[in-house]
Symmetry: D2
Subunit: 343 residues, 4 copies
């Protein structure tokens, strides 16, 4: 069996997850090079003497035996790195989003396809076992024709305001995962968006020009819809739930809790809180997405989530933002026109 | 203690519930007269010799010792009967809605107030013990400031198409309960509505000019919102759930199931279905609303839900319908203008 | 349809429940006489002028048009009243137990049968809708052949020590319901008992010669078994659960909670506590048992739970007590021998 | 930090789990030698060239740089291997039980202690995160003084009859885990055992002289108790639950299900089945026990579960067997006497 040689760019929070997962769990892939401008070469190579290290991603990407690039660097660097990887004809796994701008997202998606380079985007939640099971049930017709998808997606706390300022806003940074999830579950394209947004958690969010709370209605091509409820801060922690209603029934996916223990005492019957945040909640989905990325490379399969998906989710995020600003439903075709005008 | 003498108009499905509840459970009130054009006087009086009966509501309403009128007749007769009850200076309990037209609803509400006649509307779900508990928790600040209310309200099956044709449409007939619930939980007024509607259950519904599936976003005066998801037919039965999210936490009210039994077998872990329909699901709320109506009469209290509430819910229903038709958010002030123009 | 005329003896806590249920819910039966030595004739007749009242049960029982006697007086009076009712050829509903002594229980059971008087015992839990549903599922074979029944039965608090002293002990007073439940679910007879008992809640219980905590294993005629876990005091309230395991699956019956609301906050996910005590928890079963008693009288059916059941449950209670005292499994045949010797 | 060198004996189902866990997750430990009489040296060394391999455990155990031995071979070989490991002064992790005979179990436990060799037994369920959390809550006093522990432990299917014949019987082979769990949760010693056993799943089990279903009551030194309900075959799969009741409340640990998805359809509300069997259900506990074993070696701590625990659980198993045979409660002191007589 072919062995996939991987170069990992960015050893931050998410980079470390992929690093560890590949090192420990996939015999079909090996990390042979790492780049991170923040790390010391000496320090890294002392720990991992078998891995080539550089602070410069270009140097790592140029290694001839590298088959695939994992882009886990800050969002602002994604587009350039994707371009370079395409130029080097390396396959790519990139954390979402490809870029904060619409036209560049569209261009990158097209570029990768034309170059015949495989591109997978880190919409990891698709690979959560519970959500995969839900999608599988939908495909198998267990609830008939889907009429509505409801997503609850709340973070456990506000990120730092500086983070928010550079995040592209709640829709691009946070809700984009849910937009992708709605498309994934439905297996259809979104055509129209209506969104309401509020800054009710912290005034500083409004001052930064963003919102911290949103309600988004997505209309699909056949008129059915999804509704997504986002908050940057749930007092009880990370809330990630899904409900799918069809003419044959309903599927609910509830939160993953810290444990299965139930405490009964004088004040009530108490369950544990949901898992803290995405690192814990989606630990299995990070593993699974890497497994599928490597599998697609080894067996020359189509990537399970690619540039088209990234572009669609980004377009929805732009439409949602515009909808809040103008208080009206926004068609995705309007956004498409924008892209073409920009291009 | 004063005894309240009640005249009941209409011994249909809902009239019978109130009749039985008053006869069996409230020592402070007595049904002394009943009118129903469909029943035989002989037949009725054989069973209930102590109750005056007539096929003509006017005759019943004119009885001098009647303190309060319960209007449980078809919707099309409500407005006239309310007017007559006001003219006779009787207090009124009327099943929702007061009328299908906006201007008459507004007029009746005003008329009752000016006449000093007490008027309670049958938004019985407010008096469901679980929802009352939820409202109580919100008022006590258990989840802090409420940011979003989510209501799931699905019927177990499509009513006959003839019923639909005379129902005023999904928003007036079905969702109006949920509009009232959202206002009740929030304790605030709605200012804007955005709704999407579909006819996906049966083509006959579309042919009748109605929808069978809807998603409604309500915007409250302070910018917070509610989202209501309606379907005329859930394969698994009557689905009535509520979720309230605030900056201090969340309250969920789940369905009431047929029983607490759980069956484990080779194919899974199985719970019973929700209670069949409103007669079962809201049995306790019908009792409670009558208790509160009688209590308000005996102790001269304000009615827990009155003409203003009926008018607001009706205005929301009109706004929702307009929103679907014009695919845009509709302000309640637009509807208000309409009323004034009509008046 | 025949109308059943009922005389009710004892208007205490449980007597009032039956009184109210019959008055409000059963058109086929009427309470025509009441006896209670603690009540004033004047006071009672002012409220219920249509009901004959006496402080002397004999007087009430002698009324010729009385069809059935409801015995809701203290346990110590049950046996004499049953005997008198039999002598008067009245059908009998008696709260459990018939008597604290084994031989008299046996004698009464036999006496009623010989006299052809119908006798129903107030093992009301059999008529709880959830437990009835569980029994129905077992009978329908939904979990195959039952191998073990597990009952959790915990009270919300210790009764007064004076009550305990006259109660016949935990097994006779409290666990007897569970012994009957195990027999009911299994549809088989118990042949052997092993029990462990503790007084760990309050030393005063031990001083009164009783236990407050017990674990009882019942062996059925075919070798399968039930295990019952009793406590006089659960910090979280009244705990009434059932689990039935068969070769085809398992049925669980969970507690009935105060409401369906779930509160999520920083400290966890919180459900309401179970319903407070038997008056609330078994409200429906009191109704159902009376419905079935009246139905058996009207339609001349066999009583759903009778003298034989009372005797069996009492024998199990005696065996359990002996088992704790002698720390050994006790066969019911040993208890049977005792009865015969006593007789 | 010290690196622990491990020799693994037996690469069967359980050996492979430990092998993989150590290779992938623990930087502080390394497997440097493996013995398995069933494997080919060539085959093994092709895959793992850095690990010494032999079909003879003695050869592996004699390696001077081996710090600890993992015994994952068939039960019948455990005792000899433990003795040899002690002779070689290697620390030991041994899958339960140490031996099927009581006296040898006692002797081995003593031998290890005298030799100052660390010995950990594979009672892995203690290290399940949910059960650890439950034990932690008990220790923290969250439910006050514990009065009863209830364990439900059912396998998904009967093992082959040949396995049963050499298993030592249900109590030694299966329930021993639950006996250890009860001691772990309680933090106290068992003094008396009463058990009932049945062969109701397959007649072949009875023919093999074993039972397939059991109910065991354990009495602790202070009179409180545990009850354990075992079955070799639950139709719905692997059932592993725990309930702990104290004077301050109750803790329940429910099953781990395949997923969090809930399907609502016409026939009910359906949850997924429990995880298939111990390999899945206790995946995390195998990891955690190895982590704690390695940690105890590196930091010279006491083993979290050792020879004393193995001996106690074995004595309980013997007492349970005797109790079934003689239908009486059996004191552990009787078993102790037996050991001393045998010794």
């Amino acid at each position: 069996m072919k062995q996939i040689n991987i170069a990992l760019l960015g050893m931050g929070r998410i980079g470390k997850i992929h690093f560890k997962n590949i090192e420990q769990h996939f015999s079909g892939a090996k990390i042979i090079a790492v780049a991170d401008p923040q790390l010391s070469k000496n320090f890294f190579e002392k720990q991992y003497s078998h891995i080539f290290f550089s602070t410069d991603p270009n140097e790592v990407m140029a290694q001839p035996d590298v088959d695939a690039i994992l882009i886990c660097t800050p969002t602002s660097t994604h587009a350039d790195l994707i371009e370079k990887a395409i130029a080097n004809r390396k396959n790519i796994f990139c954390e979402k989003p490809m870029d904060l701008s619409l036209e560049r997202t569209a261009a990158l998606s097209e570029m990768a396809e034309e170059a015949g380079v495989k591109l997978m985007l880190g919409f990891n939640r698709r690979f959560d076992p519970d959500f995969m099971e839900a999608r599988k049930s939908v495909k198998e017709g267990k609830i008939g024709d889907v009429q509505i998808v409801k997503i609850t997606s709340r973070d456990p706390g506000l990120p730092p305001i500086d983070y928010i300022k550079n995040s592209g806003g709640l829709f691009m940074d946070m809700a984009i995962h849910d937009f992708d999830m709605a498309r994934y579950i439905m297996g259809k394209e979104v055509t129209e968006v209506f969104a309401k947004g509020l800054a009710v958690i912290d005034k500083a969010v409004a001052d930064a020009g963003d919102i911290d709370t949103a309600l988004t209605t997505l209309i699909f091509e056949d008129g059915t819809y999804a509704v997504i409820d986002n908050s940057r801060k749930a007092a009880y922690g990370y809330d990630q739930r899904l409900e799918i209603f069809g003419n044959g029934g309903m599927i609910q996916v509830d939160n993953n809790l810290h444990n299965k223990n139930i405490l009964y005492n004088e004040s009530g019957i108490h369950h544990a809180l949901p898992l803290d945040f995405f690192m814990d909640r989606y630990a299995k989905s990070y593993m699974k997405e890497m497994e599928l990325f490597i599998d697609a490379l080894i067996n020359n399969k189509e990537m399970p989530v690619g540039g088209h998906d990234g572009l669609q989710a980004t377009m929805i995020a732009f439409a949602a933002k515009l909808s809040v600003e103008e208080n009206r439903p926004v068609k995705l075709s309007e956004i498409n026109v924008t892209i073409k005008q920009l291009a």
